[in-house]
Structure formats: structure tokens, C-alpha cells
């Protein structure tokens, strides 16, 4: 439902926009308003501006009360002075609202002067211009307390929003003035020349405004919506489409007026032409009001960046998921070529100027052939790259891809999934043989084919026409996302088999899961906090009675190399689970980064990244504890890994320093994408 306060806010905007658009139009045409008809119009328009500015001021105050009520979570009629006072004086939004109220009220003063001094056209015109400028300042204030403030490109966003609102005001805010000119009954003879001139000038303003609206609108859409699923899968995006549809309607009407009716009117200002013109302007005005109401409603919603996307279609197009399938590239490129050829035939059939001399097919035949080719080409190309999609396909989670979630997901996997997918994760559980469809091998690289949302949908609802059951009733939302985070780590852990002790220059692709650490000052930090700041040598220890002496020696060796590593921009982080490792954790506390709670979770999670080419650990999902060390570069990628069971390269700290040297010579890499991004 449209929020009632969106309508109130819309009145605030519409009033100010009318003041801006109408005031500016009068100023721009003031030299032409000398004849009697001009004076009548001026009188109507100045009154309209006075009413609009008062409506705007009242609606602005009402909007502030509504916003304060929403902030304090009380009903609109339960708002008292103290809530409004706190809202206005104690919040950033409130400070902007004070400016808005002040400007909305201030605009009423020159509007009133313009009305009172109507006889003195010079004073009246200047007062009207002042009202328009103050209202323009009011409209320009709003973006400072709205979505653009929260954008990364804050300044570009705010400037775009201001230009967008002002251009829209100049155009749509002038429409009521046009209705007062030609739409309030028959146009008298002495007004016709003036009317044609005002319409021509307005048309010039509107053309410039239209260009600005389209440009800034495209920028704002890019900033706030960003992608296609956000556009069709969220309420904000769908409102935007609706708003664009109305804008398209307005553009269509306006271009018809400009190209046909306006020249006709200038040639022969007859009653039917004026009537037709006025009716179209009225329709344009209705669209304009709806556009502003929709925009106000959108302003009250979270933009798609903050919203859950519900994908409305049963399919989606993906090159990543289909391009490797045999014949897909051929079908797609061939289909597009056929489609383009068909469109070409259609074009030369319809536009005689394009038709070459040798093209002699009868028009019906060529139209039919072109249409069939265009449709058949599309039918060949698009199904080839489409894959099944679900309402949750673009759903994401706030649960971070981090040790706590991944370890919990591993546990849920062991409790719920091994029967079919196996303790190995390869789809070979005890029940697998009796199933009509083989359970999926979860170690296969799947991320290119399925979004995290796809997996979430399957875990929640099961897979249709397959034995995969639904877990929506047995596992909570968080638990299902934990499983998906785990699956991401498990699958990428298999791909990480090839990571070597030596850094491969330029090969950055493996982002480690996040983990909570305690820093040298006892403060809780995240592994990801060190991105762009320092490289990390992450040590995963595994203490047993047999190896404790060895583990302690390795620990002491690296602690001794701490200064050298720090000089190369590298910090040491320790994951040392179990009571036998306790002395290492105590010795490390206050000196290096230490995982000191949920240590077993961190160990199990990074254990997923200890498979190697020689030891795939392919009979188990949960890899047995082992000693491993990871070198994470400044950009946040695992770049090298040492498994002492396989070689002794890193037992020489000089070898590690040589790897750091390679990393320090590399240019910075882009930050790692989220684990489920595509």
C-alpha cells in the first residue's frame, strides 16, 4: 500500500515544484505578458503560486510530524512536542528538516508579496522569482536527508538528486501554469498570441529539463539499484519501473505536443487545437502528480541494496552457467545473428529510404519473413543461456562467511546430510545407492552454476522431482545459511588443493573465511579488518602429546621472526585449538593476533583449506587436525600455504621472507568478492 505519509511528502514536493516551475516560467515570459490576456494569466498564476507555497509549507510540517512519529515508533496522533523537538534538534535528519520548514515557510512571504503587488508587475515578478528560488533551495535540501547520503559516491549522488529534482520542478511544476493558460475554459482572442508564445518558451525549458532528468535519473538508478534483479525483484525497483513508465508517457505526450500541436497552434490558433493541447497537458499533469507520489513513496523505502530480492521469473540468463555447455555459444551467437538479420529485413521493409535497389520482395512477404527470423533467432538464442531460477535466487544473507557460521554449517551437514551426500560430501552416503537420482557431489565447483540463493531455496524447499528433501521446517533460517556458507568453504577448499608454498605471482582468487581475533591490545578484531593494511601469516597448530615439542619449536621460531615479518608489512595470527596448545596461546597473547574464543570452530574452518594434491582427504568432509600455515596478502587473498607433512620449505624463515618480497612487489589487487558473488 502507498504510505499515507508518502502522499503528504508528495504534496510538499508538488507545492514547491509548482512554485519553482510556474515562477520560473512567468519570469522567463514576463516581457510577453503585456497584452490583456497576459495580465489575466499572470493574476491566476500568482494566486496559484501563493496557494502552492502555502500547501507546501503545511505539508512539510505534517511530513516532519510523520517522520518524528516513525522515528519514535508512536502513532501520528501520539506525537508530542518533546518527540518533535528531539527529532528536529537532536538528529541529523531533523536539522535538515528545520532548514526545509524554514525555506517552505519563507517562500510564502514573497509569494504573498507577488499577489499583493500584482498591479506593480516589476515588483510582483521579482517577488515571484524570489519565491521560486527559495522553493528551489528547499527542494535541493531534501537529498541531504535521504538515500544519497548513504551512498559511497555521496557527493555525486547528492548533486545528481538535486539536479534531478530541480529539472523535474522546472518541467512538471510549469504544467499547472499551462492549464491556467489554456485549460480553464475557451481561450479568449486576446490571449491566443500570448499563449502560443508561452507554450513555445515552456517547450524550450522542458527540452533542457528532460535531458537533465534522463541523465541524472540514470545515474541515480545506477547508484541506488545497481543491478537488474534489484530492479525487478524489489518493491523499490518495481516502483521505479512504474515511475519510468509514467515518465515515458509524459515524454510521449510532450514530444507529440512539441512536434505537431505547437507548430499547428503557432500557424493557426484555433479552438479545437487549444482544447486538444489543454487536454494533453492535463493528462501530462496527472502523470506528473503520480510520478511525484511514487517518488515520495520510494523515498520512504529502503533501496534494493538493503532489501531482499524476490526474483519473479522461473528462469534467469547466465553466460557463466551455460557457456561451457556444448553448442550453447553456437546457438546463442547464431540465434542473435538470425534475429538481427530479421530485424534488418523488417527495417528495410518499413523504411523505403533504407531499401537497396535489388530488394524486390513484396512488402507482406518481407515483413513476414523478417518477423519470423527475428522471433526464431530470439527463440534459439535466449533459451540456450537461460537456467532455472527461484524466488530466492538473488537472496543473500547478513550472516558473514566466517568461521562461526562455517563450523556450525559443517555440524548441521554432519547431522542432516551425510545419509545421502556421504561423510565424504561426494554424494556417496549409505542411502545414495537406493535413490533414483544420484545425490550431488558437493565438492564439485558449483558456484558458477548456482547462486547462494539457489542453494538456499533447495535446502529450504527440497528439489522438485528428486529425492532431495526440504529442511525449511527442521532447520532455522540461520542454520540453513550456515550450511550454505559451509558448502562454499568446502567446495572452494577442494579447489585450494593446488595452493603451494611458493607464491604464484598474480594468482589471487582464494579468499579465506573471516575469523574473530584478539589483537595485541586485547581488542576484538576481524581478519578482514587487516585488508589493505597488512599481510597475515596465519598459523594453524595441532598439538598432540607426540608433536608438542615440535609445535612449540615452530611457534618460538616464528615469534622470533616477528620483527622481520613486521618490517615486511606482515602480522602473525595464531589458531591453536585444544588444551595442549594452551601454553602457545598464553605466550602469544598481547604479542600477535590470537584466536581466543570458538577456537575449535576456527580450526575446523581453516582445516577445510588443508587438502592438497597429494592428500585430498576425500573420504571425509571434516579434515583431521593438522599443522598448516597460510600467507594472506594485503588485498585479502590466500597466496601461499605450507603443510609441514609435505615439504620443509617454510622451516626456513628466509623462504617466507622471499615470498613476502614477491607479494610486496605486486600492485594491489581488487578486494575479494563475497563467497557467493557472481
Amino acid at each position: 500500500m502507498i504510505d499515507p505519509f508518502a502522499v503528504v511528502r508528495a504534496f510538499g514536493t508538488l507545492g514547491a515544484a509548482t512554485t519553482v516551475g510556474t515562477g520560473a516560467l512567468v519570469w522567463y515570459t514576463r516581457d510577453a505578458l503585456v497584452p490583456a490576456g497576459g495580465a489575466i494569466w499572470r493574476r491566476r498564476v500568482v494566486l496559484a503560486v501563493l496557494v502552492a507555497s502555502i500547501v507546501s509549507a503545511i505539508a512539510t510540517v505534517a511530513g516532519v510530524i510523520g517522520a518524528a512519529a516513525a522515528a519514535a515508533q508512536v502513532g501520528v496522533f501520539a506525537v508530542d512536542g518533546s518527540i518533535v523537538e528531539t527529532f528536529l534538534f537532536k538528529t541529523g535528519v531533523g536539522h535538515i528538516e528545520i532548514v526545509e520548514i524554514g525555506l517552505a515557510a519563507a517562500a510564502c512571504v514573497p509569494a504573498a508579496i507577488a499577489w499583493v503587488m500584482l498591479k506593480n508587475t516589476q515588483v510582483s515578478d521579482v517577488a515571484l522569482l524570489a519565491a521560486a528560488l527559495i522553493s528551489a533551495a528547499n527542494l535541493a535540501t531534501v537529498p541531504f536527508a535521504s538515500h544519497p547520503v548513504t551512498l559511497d559516491a555521496q557527493i555525486a549522488g547528492i548533486l545528481s538528486a538535486i539536479a534531478h529534482r530541480l529539472a523535474l520542478s522546472l518541467w512538471l511544476g510549469g504544467l499547472p501554469a499551462l492549464i491556467l493558460l489554456i485549460g480553464a475554459g475557451p481561450v479568449p482572442d486576446d490571449t491566443r498570441r500570448v499563449a502560443a508564445l508561452v507554450l513555445r518558451r515552456f517547450s524550450q525549458v522542458a527540452t533542457v529539463a528532460m535531458g537533465i532528468i534522463l541523465l541524472t535519473g540514470a545515474l541515480l538508478t545506477w547508484f541506488l539499484v545497481g543491478n537488474f534483479p534489484g530492479l525487478i525483484g524489489t518493491e523499490y525497483g518495481r516502483l521505479l519501473i512504474l515511475k519510468l513508465a509514467f515518465l515515458g508517457g509524459v515524454l510521449f505526450i510532450a514530444s507529440g505536443l512539441q512536434r505537431h500541436l505547437l507548430p499547428l497552434l503557432e500557424l493557426k490558433p484555433s479552438d479545437p487545437t487549444f482544447l486538444s493541447y489543454a487536454n494533453r497537458v492535463k493528462l501530462e499533469t496527472v502523470f506528473a502528480v503520480l510520478i511525484v507520489v511514487i517518488a515520495s513513496d520510494m523515498a520512504g523505502l529502503a533501496p534494493p541494496e538493503h532489501e531482499n530480492i524476490v526474483w519473479p521469473l522461473p528462469f534467469r540468463f547466465s553466460f557463466a552457467a551455460t557457456w561451457a555447455i556444448p553448442w550453447v555459444p553456437t546457438r546463442f551467437i547464431g540465434g542473435i545473428a538470425l534475429s538481427l538479420a530479421g530485424l534488418g529485413v523488417l527495417a528495410i521493409s518499413l523504411v523505403p529510404q533504407l531499401r537497396p535497389a535489388w530488394f524486390r520482395l513484396p512488402k507482406n512477404v518481407s515483413l513476414g519473413a523478417g518477423a519470423i527470423a527475428a522471433i526464431a533467432g530470439g527463440g534459439l538464442a535466449f533459451p540456450a543461456i537461460s537456467v532455472q531460477a527461484y524466488p530466492d535466487t538473488y537472496l543473500t544473507t547478513d550472516i558473514p562467511y566466517a568461521a562461526r557460521s562455517i563450523a556450525a554449517g559443517l555440524k548441521h551437514y554432519e547431522d542432516n546430510c551425510t545419509g545421502c551426500h556421504g561423510t565424504s560430501g561426494h554424494g556417496d552416503g549409505p542411502l545414495a545407492a537406493s535413490l533414483p537420482i544420484k545425490p550431488a557431489d558437493l565438492s564439485a565447483p558449483h558456484t558458477a552454476l548456482h547462486t547462494a540463493g539457489d542453494l538456499y531455496w533447495w535446502v529450504t524447499h527440497g528439489i522438485e522431482n528428486s529425492p532431495m528433501p526440504a529442511f525449511g521446517d527442521t532447520l532455522t533460517d540461520d542454520e540453513r545459511w550456515d550450511i550454505i556458507n559451509f558448502l562454499g568453504a568446502y567446495s572452494v577448499g577442494y579447489q585450494a588443493r593446488i595452493i603451494e608454498p611458493r607464491v604464484q605471482p598474480g594468482q589471487y582468487w582464494l579468499a579465506p573465511p573471516d575469523v574473530e581475533l584478539t589483537d595485541e591490545n586485547g581488542k576484538t578484531v576481524l581478519l578482514t579488518d587487516y585488508r589493505q593494511k597488512s599481510a597475515i601469516l596465519l598459523m594453524l597448530f595441532s598439538c598432540t602429546q607426540e608433536n608438542i615439542a615440535q609445535e612449540t619449536a615452530r611457534f618460538n621460531q616464528l615469534m622470533a621472526a616477528r620483527e622481520r615479518l613486521a618490517a615486511a608489512g606482515t602480522r602473525i595470527a595464531l589458531i591453536a585449538p585444544g588444551s595442549l596448545c594452551e601454553p602457545l596461546r598464553s605466550a602469544a597473547a598481547g604479542k600477535i593476533l590470537v584466536v581466543d574464543h570458538d577456537i575449535a570452530d576456527a580450526a575446523a574452518t581453516f582445516g577445510l583449506f588443508t587438502r592438497s594434491v597429494h592428500n585430498r582427504q576425500q573420504t571425509v568432509v571434516r579434515v583431521p587436525d593438522t599443522h598448516a600455515e597460510f600467507l594472506i596478502d594485503r588485498s585479502g587473498y590466500i597466496r601461499a600455504r605450507w603443510l609441514p607433512a609435505e615439504d620443509d620449505t617454510w622451516s626456513d624463515p628466509g623462504f617466507i621472507m622471499a615470498q613476502l618480497d614477491i607479494l610486496n612487489r605486486e600492485p594491489p589487487a581488487p578486494p575479494p568478492p563475497g563467497p557467493h558473488d557472481h
Binding site: A72, G92, S146, T150
Partner: protein, 132 residues
Amino acid sequence: MRPAISLRKGGQALLIFVLLFGFGLGISEVAAHSRLVRSEPSARAVLDTAPKEIKLWFNEAVEPAFAKFWIIPAQGAQISLTARGDSSDKRELIVTLPDNLPAGPVNIGFHVLSVDGHVVEDKLTFTIKNPA
């Protein structure tokens, strides 16, 4: 005259369609998406002892004047908590906890106003192993 009249009828039909469509759009209730990006203790943490306060970081600046926090107990009435801002980080809020928190899961409900005027409502859960 004729085109003007048909245009008007078309406009009315379009208007009705648009209003129906517009209201239809509103039916799908959209769940508010949490914008809490980080907290200390973090969500779902298992803590040895009860913390004295919670620090929360949001993905945009928030207004301490309209931040409301409360404990959602397993039974009984909600317990209001006080929150304050951090002068050095406008995205951060600090919430003081009572010192008699029992062992077990702790659910904290909250409601904050962000600088773009939007209200965010969500909850944070962690577990205490030993009572204070």
C-alpha cells in the same frame, strides 16, 4: 474534437489501471533487511562471562537520540536498555547491559534511525555460558 475525447477516456482507463497496479504492488510485504554490520559480542557468539556492554556498528550513520534497545526475555516483560553514541564513529552505538544477566541465550531487540531517515528494526542474539 474526437481525438481529445478518446484521449480523455484512454487517460481514465490508464489511471484506473495504474491505481490498481500501484496498490497491488504494495501487497508484497518486504521484510526489513538488517543493516547491522558488526557487533561486539558478535551475533551468535558463545561467551564465557556476561559482557558489560554491547557495541554495534551499522553500515551507515545512526541517530543515538532515537535508538531503542531492549532485552527480549524468554518470559515476562521486555527490559529497556540505554544506548549512547560514539563521538568518534557515527556508525557505532554502545548499549549498557544490566549486570544480572542469567546464563543462556540473550536476545536483544533494537530499533534505530539512520541518517537517511529510515528506521531499522532487528535483533541480536548471543549466549552466556556462566552467569556474572
